[in-house]
Symmetry: C2
Subunit: 288 residues, 2 copies
Amino acid sequence: MGDPTFFLGIDGGGSRCRARLTDESGKKLGEGITGAANIRLGLDAAWSAILGATDQALSEAGLNADILNRIHAGFGLAGVCGPADVDFLLSGKSPFASVRVETDAHTACLGAFAGGDGGILIIGTGSVGYALIGGVAQSIGGWGFEISDDGSGAAMGRAAIRAAVRAHDGLSAASGLTNAVLAKLGPPARIVEWASTAKPGNYASFAPLVLEHALQNDTVALEIIRHGAARLDAHIKRLLELGAPQICLMGGAAGAIEPFLADWARASLVAPKGDAMDGALLLARRAA
Amino acid sequence: MGDPTFFLGIDGGGSRCRARLTDESGKKLGEGITGAANIRLGLDAAWSAILGATDQALSEAGLNADILNRIHAGFGLAGVCGPADVDFLLSGKSPFASVRVETDAHTACLGAFAGGDGGILIIGTGSVGYALIGGVAQSIGGWGFEISDDGSGAAMGRAAIRAAVRAHDGLSAASGLTNAVLAKLGPPARIVEWASTAKPGNYASFAPLVLEHALQNDTVALEIIRHGAARLDAHIKRLLELGAPQICLMGGAAGAIEPFLADWARASLVAPKGDAMDGALLLARRAA
């Protein structure tokens, strides 16, 4: 009998990288967590995050780097856009027996439905839908703040800021929300400066304020959330049309938005069976 | 009797600078036109545009630079945000007997109502409302593409592009407009690249496509235009509330949008009595 084989699942998101190590039977041996593994931040940064999280998982398992070449790994990484990115990532850098790479949305969907058919809708700073139907992947929306990402935290934050600027100029009604935004950002001349360097994450930082005021029946906040929720309903409708039998919501704004979705959309929602590391482990097992 | 005095009106916009020279009686002697005089492009560029247009006007009048120190000038310049900008512009550079500087919106409004009360709504790449009531200036909107400028060419172009991306992903209905946008820009992966360097003017270049399709009853185009027109109605409502008895529409998109404004808003519209150079000449006369 040869040396035992191991499986590693990596969930490399925009802000953190998590690793889970299992034995051949699927039993969890250890986990680790480091910083962002988005490959847009560079090859060295991505590998540093991945190997750092792996080291922690090995350490928790009482193992060391000697066994890296007996590990079959699956990576779900933010920022992976195609085969060129995968080739770039794997160019002579991998210490593992095998590596399969997909986007973090792909491994999240694999994990959520344990490899079965289903769709996920991620609602965080951005928004994106993803379905795996009979092994075929389809991505919906998620093209970024300027041209897409309806219903996302960034989109709702931007809508709140635009409404606040309108209210300041007497172009639409002021409300608790618009007053709160102006109290935070100052008058429009200051907001223009702020906006000149603001990233989607800066806009998304106003989404909790929108949700908070919506729960107090602020009409401006409710209009923003209802508009966003209707756009997210359309994502769910599309995922169902594509053949996803059920949908998992994910992302930092999912819980807050869920009550505003249409009844038929909420009826399609289920809790995920596993997380993105579980999905990455499935990827690794299928490759091995 | 001393040497005769002259008056010069400068309309320095974001893409061109125009000059008009008159005698003491207000009789037009000559005109000139050069490139952008937006002071955000730098002091030398602004003065070069202003003096170039002035040279042309002098030449048309059969005069030369000897009389510059007998000219009282009024400048309406894009990008002027406050007294610091005016001080900066005039710091030892002016060859004129006197200069008064205001924004191009201010001189446009002065010219449109010949110095009387009124409001203007400029609808071009951006959108901004401006009123002069009893000599008091008020500006409405116009804080730029990201946080303001509702109903502008850039806002309508962006809405068309976002609708096209949604249609591509099956999130909303396709139409002649969304097909035309995708034919021009390619699939979303290409639009993401385009958007990474796109300026408001690039978005605004899609506004004529929206108007063209709206006239063919394209439902997506009509929704975009009606939404923008409703926001522009709000600008007109606000200008009337502030005390403007009548409104002049201006800017490259004004003619196309006008039929979509509310009847009560259209009832307030009048043709301008003069242009921004006339307004700048009024400024110069008042200072002299």
